[in-house]
Amino acid sequence: METIKNYLEAMFAGLPDTAEVRKAKAELLQMMEDKYNELRAEGQSENTAVGTVISEFGNLDELADDLGLKNEVQEFNDAESANPRRQISRDEAASFIENRIRKSLFRAVGVMLCIISVACPIITSQGDTQIVLAGPSLMFVCIALGVGFIVYSGFVDSEWKFIGKQLCFIDMNTASYVKERRKSFEGVRAICLTLGIVLCIVCWVPCLLFSASARVTIGPALMFLLVGIGVFLIVYANSASKGFDMLLRVNDTKTISGGYGEPAPSEMKYVSKTAETIVLCYWPVVTCLYLIVSFLSFRWDLTWIIWPIAAVSYRAVVINCRSDD
C-alpha cells in the first residue's frame, strides 16, 4: 500500500495545492485502496496487487482537464521545460551529505585554528625576547592555516552550489532517507553541542587554577584552547545538520507535495542597522579588548574576568537590539 501512496504522491507532486486537487487525490487514493484490499482478499500477493492497481490507474492529463487545472498543468509543464527542476536522487543526496560533513569538518577546524592562534603570543609572552617574538609569527601561521581551511571548505561542496540557485526537488523516498540520516546524526549533534557548550562555559577555570602559579599565561592560553575546541564542536554539529534541512527544503511548497522540511527559521531581526552592527561586532571587540588589556597590564590572572562580564552584558545588548516582530 505504501508503494501505491508513493506513486500517487509522485503523480500529484507538481500540481498546485488547491481544494479540488486535494479532494481528487483523496478520492483516487480511496478507489485504489478499495481495489488493492479486494485483490489482497482474493489472495493475490502484495506485489501483484500493487502492479494491477497502478497499471489500471490511468493518467492525470484527462483529470487535470476536468478539474479545471488545464492551465496550471500547462504552466507547470512550460515552466518545467523552460527551467527544468532538477531532481536530487537518493544517491546524490547521500553524497551531498558526505560532502556536507566534510565541508563542516574543514570549516570547524579553520575556525578552531583562528581561535587557538591567539594562545601562541600569550604563552610565549612570558619568555626571552626571542621566544616572545616567535609568538606573533606562530599566531599568523595558525590564522593563515585556519583561513586556508575555511576557504577550502567553500570549494568542497562547489558541485552542490546549484541547490538554492536552481529549482530542485526530491521525492518521498529520498526525503525519508534524508530524515533517517538526520535522525542518526541527531545523537552525534547532541553530544557535540553539549560538549562544545560545556567547554565554552568552563573555559575560564584554567585561569583560576593557574592564577597563583609562576606561569600565569598558561591559564589564558588553555582558555583559548578550550574555547577553540568548544567552538569547533558547535560549528561542526550545526553546519553538518544544516545540510539535512537544506535538502529537505528544496521542494516548492506551493505544489501539493509541499516541502518535506520545516520552513527555514527566520533570521534574527534588529531594531536598526546600528543595533545589528553592535551585535555582530560584539565578540571580536571584546576579544581585542581582552588581548590589549592583558598584554599591556600583563595581569593574565585577573583579566579573564572580562569574559564572564562580557557574556552577561551580551544578553543585555541582544535583548535591547533585537526587534520582536
Binding site: E20, A24, E27, L28, Q30, E56, G58, N59
Partner: protein, 112 residues
C-alpha cells in the same frame, strides 16, 4: 485480440455510470467493479477516467455526492457516494436515444 476503442467509449462512460447510479447510489470502486462485471470484464474503467466523469457530471448537475460511513456500524472512515439527479435521468435517456441512432447508422456499414 480486439480492444475497445477508447475514443468511442469515452463518450459513453457517463452513460454507464448513470445506468449504475439509477439503480442505487454508489461509490467509486463499487461502480468500476459493476462496469467490469456487466461488461464481462471486457471493459476496465481507469480510476482517473472515473473520477473525471464524477467531477464533470457533478458540475453539470447530473449527479450529487454525499458522504456516508463505510460500514453500517459506523466505525471507520467516511466514503464519498454519488446519486443520480432528475436532470441526470434526462441526460441518460438522451444518451440512450443518441446511442440507438448511432448504432443503427453505423450498423448499416458493418460486414461481419
Amino acid at each position: 485480440m480486439t480492444e475497445i476503442s477508447s475514443d468511442v467509449i469515452r463518450g459513453y462512460n457517463d452513460t454507464m455510470i448513470l445506468f449504475i447510479l439509477e439503480q442505487e447510489p454508489s461509490y467509486g470502486y463499487e461502480i468500476s467493479k459493476q462496469i467490469k462485471r456487466i461488461s464481462d470484464g471486457k471493459y476496465l474503467i481507469k480510476e482517473t477516467t472515473l473520477y473525471s466523469a464524477f467531477t464533470r457530471m457533478e458540475k453539470n448537475g447530473y449527479i450529487e455526492s454525499f458522504t456516508q460511513e463505510q460500514d453500517p456500524e459506523g466505525n471507520g472512515k467516511k466514503r464519498t457516494y454519488y446519486r443520480i439527479t432528475d436532470s441526470g435521468r434526462e441526460y441518460y435517456r438522451a444518451k440512450c436515444d443518441e446511442w440507438s441512432l448511432t448504432k443503427e447508422v453505423v450498423e448499416r456499414f458493418i460486414k461481419i
